[in-house]
């Protein structure tokens, strides 16, 4: 512990980034040593009471369980914790303080995820009972507002992508990828073309592009990048055949390099009889710039929680808006929302649809937030989003590449679109410090970054995506901190290796997480296995 009376710390003005000096933030995250909620339980306490049953109801109904088989009755009350209301609130508030939400930081380190600002006005609108207290099976005359919002938003996405229709059923990007794979399957089946059992994807596309293709029953062929960073077109030519069902691809991929031959990729797959689905997870730099359908794609999807500003919410709720060409729209998961000239309605008349991919109509209030976001910006504003996201990225890359030990593999000297996958290979060679360790040390300064999906094709990867939501000063602070951490790796590697120092907890011993004798996914399992924990 620092005794401030004996060891006054240095003038903290030197830590404020506003003075333009190359310093880093003096930061420490909350550390409450908060117990697990079961440890806070006190017998008999109550957090909330439920409405009493009316005496008349009790009198009339008597034994309501008389028809229930005895084995269907619970024998003892569930062993949930018992807490008064303010204890619950305090516990959760403390946990929240031990979580670094995007609102608190320059959250440009979660590349591929487009961590942009989530406008608060949209949250306020979503809390209206006119949104939050709608039942999905209400008479459609009573939900004309949300149907209209969804329909209008669909028209905007159609113009952004060039696609013919959108379904908002998928509750996440991966669900939309799965839905695209299912549409590809259904399309070929509808033509009696049942031998097509291969889907081609690329290693820099999201793992779900490969995983969902497999789930839908396809064999997966994965293309790797050539020296320019593009997926290898020769490998694609060699991969296509009369077994090819489709291509699931991202562009730009996670490297941020736009593949200029993308329409040629589509042509090659089309020529072989396959369909092409565009995973538009990385669309933020391309709004109003280039469109999926114009490159020939048959299907696409947008993550509304990325490109369209809805909050990531620790990992959902979310929407993967699935778009299809005219020819394929009949296969989309229904219902779609149509207008009959007088009113909006849920069109369930879709005999060729792949059926449901989620309950009801997906995350309607997420669509509402995305609609509010685009209606605040308009065509010019969306173009500004794309341009500034790309400008921010190229500025950031320019500054990051000045840091010792980091590089941007592939396509040297080329500009990038909205993100870059960097490599700390040189720093690792020089210091033995891994990229993950640098990322954890960044958390000591109230920032963080993410490496990459597996496998690490780029050695010692770090993926940064600044979006349009951060100022030049924000980017400078991030770069300054990254530089300081790199310097630490060279001059004081022990400090980096032993990080985190300023987070709610210290370095985790992860071995128990892969050991069936010790892993504990619930508190009850932990208590049962406690004796094994210290082995």
């Amino acid at each position: 512990m620092t005794d401030l009376t004996k060891n006054p710390i240095e003038d903290i003005r030197s830590h404020r980034h506003t003075d333009g000096k190359p310093n880093v933030r003096r930061y420490h995250q909350a550390r409450w040593d908060e117990p697990i909620i079961f440890e806070l339980s006190a017998e008999g306490e109550r957090g909330v009471l439920v409405p009493e049953v009316d005496e008349e109801i009790k009198r009339t109904t008597k034994d309501v369980y008389k028809n229930l088989p005895a084995s269907m009755m619970r024998e003892s009350l569930p062993a949930l914790p018992e807490l008064s209301q303010n204890k619950v609130l305090r516990h959760y508030l403390r946990m929240s303080q031990q979580n670094l939400g995007a609102d608190f930081q320059v959250d440009i380190g979660q590349g591929t995820c487009t961590m942009k600002y989530n406008p608060k006005v949209n949250e306020h609108l979503a809390r209206s009972h006119k949104m939050s207290e709608l039942h999905p099976l209400q008479d459609q005359d009573t939900v004309q507002g949300i149907l209209e919002i969804t329909h209008k938003f669909e028209q905007i996405l159609k113009d952004i992508s060039g696609m013919s229709r959108f379904s908002f059923q998928p509750r996440g990007g991966s669900a939309a990828i799965y839905a695209n794979a299912a549409v590809i399957r259904k399309y070929h089946e509808s033509r009696g073309d049942t031998d097509r059992d291969e889907i081609i994807t690329t290693i820099f596309s999201h793992p779900s592009d490969a995983a969902c293709a497999k789930l839908a029953g396809f064999k997966v062929i994965t293309l790797y990048p050539n020296d320019d960073g593009y997926p290898d077109i020769e490998a694609l030519k060699a991969a296509v055949s009369d077994r090819t069902a489709g291509l699931l691809i991202t562009n730009p991929e996670d490297t941020g390099i736009f593949n200029p031959d993308i329409d040629e990729f589509v042509r090659i797959v089309h020529k072989a009889g396959g369909l092409c689905a565009y995973d538009q997870a990385n669309a933020n730099g391309l709004l109003g710039i280039t469109r999926a359908r114009d490159a020939g794609f048959d299907l696409c999807h947008f993550n509304l929680h990325k490109t369209f500003s809805t909050p990531h919410a620790c990992g959902g709720p979310a929407v993967g808006a699935q778009g299809a060409s005219k020819e394929l729209e009949c296969f989309l998961p229904g219902p779609l929302i149509d207008h009959d000239g007088e009113r909006y309605f849920l069109n369930e008349d879709m005999p060729h649809s792949i059926g449901k991919v989620s309950a009801f109509y997906g995350s309607a209030s997420i669509v509402m937030r995305a609609y509010a976001w685009v209606m605040n910006l308009g065509a010019e504003g969306l173009r500004e989003v794309a341009e500034i996201a790309v400008l921010n990225n190229n500025y950031l890359m320019h500054e990051v590449l000045k840091i010792k030990g980091i590089s941007a593999p592939y396509a040297e000297g080329k500009r990038r679109i909205e993100q870059v996958r960097y490599s700390w290979e040189e720093l690792y060679r020089d210091t033995g410090i891994h990229s993950e360790q640098l990322g954890i040390r960044m958390a000591d300064y109230g920032l963080h970054y993410w490496t990459s999906h597996h496998p690490f094709v780029v050695p010692e990867p770090a993926t940064l995506e600044p979006t349009e939501a951060y100022s030049v000063e924000d980017l400078d602070e991030y770069v300054r901190t990254l530089k300081a951490v790199s310097e630490e790796a060279y001059t004081n590697p022990a400090m980096v290796r032993s990080a985190p120092h300023n987070c709610p907890i210290h370095k985790i011993k992860p071995e128990v997480l892969d050991d069936p004798e010790r892993w504990s996914v619930t508190w009850r399992a932990y208590c049962r296995k406690l004796a094994n924990q210290n082995e």
Partner: protein
Amino acid sequence: MSNPETKTVYPYIPNSTDQARKKMLSAVSAESVECFYADIPKYLRMQRPLDMPEPFLSEYELKQHVQKLLNKNRSTEECLSFLGGGCYQHHVPSICDEINQRSEFLTAYAGEPYDDHGRFQALFEYCSMMGELLEMDIVNVPVYDGHQAAATSIRMACRYTGKRKALVSATIHPDKLSMITEYCRSDVDIQVINVDTVTGGMCMESLKNALDDQTAVVYFDNPGYLGVVEDGEKICALAASFDAIPAVGVDPLSLGVLAPPSSYGARLVTGEIQALGIHMQFGGGNGGFIASHDETDLVMQYPSRLFGIAPTEVQGEYGFGDVAFERTSFDKRENGNEFVGTASALWGITAGVYLSLMGPQGMHDIANGIFQRNAYAKERLASIPGILIPHNNQSHFKEFVVNFDNTGKTVEEINRLLLKQDIFGGHDLSEKYPQFGQSALYCFTEIHSRDDIDTLCDALSEVI
């Protein structure tokens, strides 16, 4: 792009000022942003502005615009609703909203177990409380919804047993059946077990006939879509006698009174968490859970994140991390189980808040109150001439079928008349379940007072 004098500075885009743009372009020696798009062939460039309505640049006008659209909706706060069928109106305790609106949780995503310690602990605690409710040691970080959870549980059982045949009860939500069928079909042969029209539960005779040693799993919901509480023990025992895995979908809100499926033999338990403190949001509040015992071979079949507790370098400190991460597509792409991605984590955190507020007594009280209200509503409705309760001698949780065949009116007509009195009548089943004639699914929860139920009965007496 635009004339500098008229250019809009966007509040969400700090660098939309001319000064910032110029400074940054100059720093990277670029004449304009066009340099960055050099790789995009000209013929793929959009040659016109996006075709969109004029924006509402000010926050006030935007808010007015969206609120005006939302005002065309009539919410269940304005009307008396008896709709259920997979999404339920319950009281949402204030603390649930207080927590899930916090920036720390709302805007976080995928930080490390260090900077996002709170997210890991909150989700671990959610899983732990669900584990107590379900009396099971393994509960996943939420998937999209109960449909997804059910479909995955069926695939898990098939992977675990190495068999392809799954028997699925027709008493589940029709949309759930549609989703399961498409989701599973490349690796699973789904056979549907029909509804027993007398009980509204699964037809035991059909189940017996369909079971054989090739059956991987028997899946049913308890209570089912029609609100009937099944004799789960009988079904699970029958499935187990053929070495098939009994998999049960359950409403967690029923478990303060009803036995957890693990106690009557279920090995995979799934369900929907929307009822646990999450607003309906036109169906956007759904989230799904999957639970099982801590059988290693079964745990290795989960596609989802499983958060486990782990020690740190400081004695006694709790840390968290991913359990058996190599199961997932995050680690192994197409060689992982199914897929994993952004789903409904915030609803998991919220459901955790709900369970900790309710506690054991609250969960008992709410389930008991719902049973009592349903029994009362059944009795009141059955006494109205023309109305029949087809499965009246069954026990119902939350909802039951009400038949109007003898009224000479369709459910559609009746519901339209009820709407005139600001009542949302039960969900019309006549299209999906023609065997039940003109029937509707009526739902009663803890928010329905005796007055509400009496109001419905009076209105129905009047309109039929």
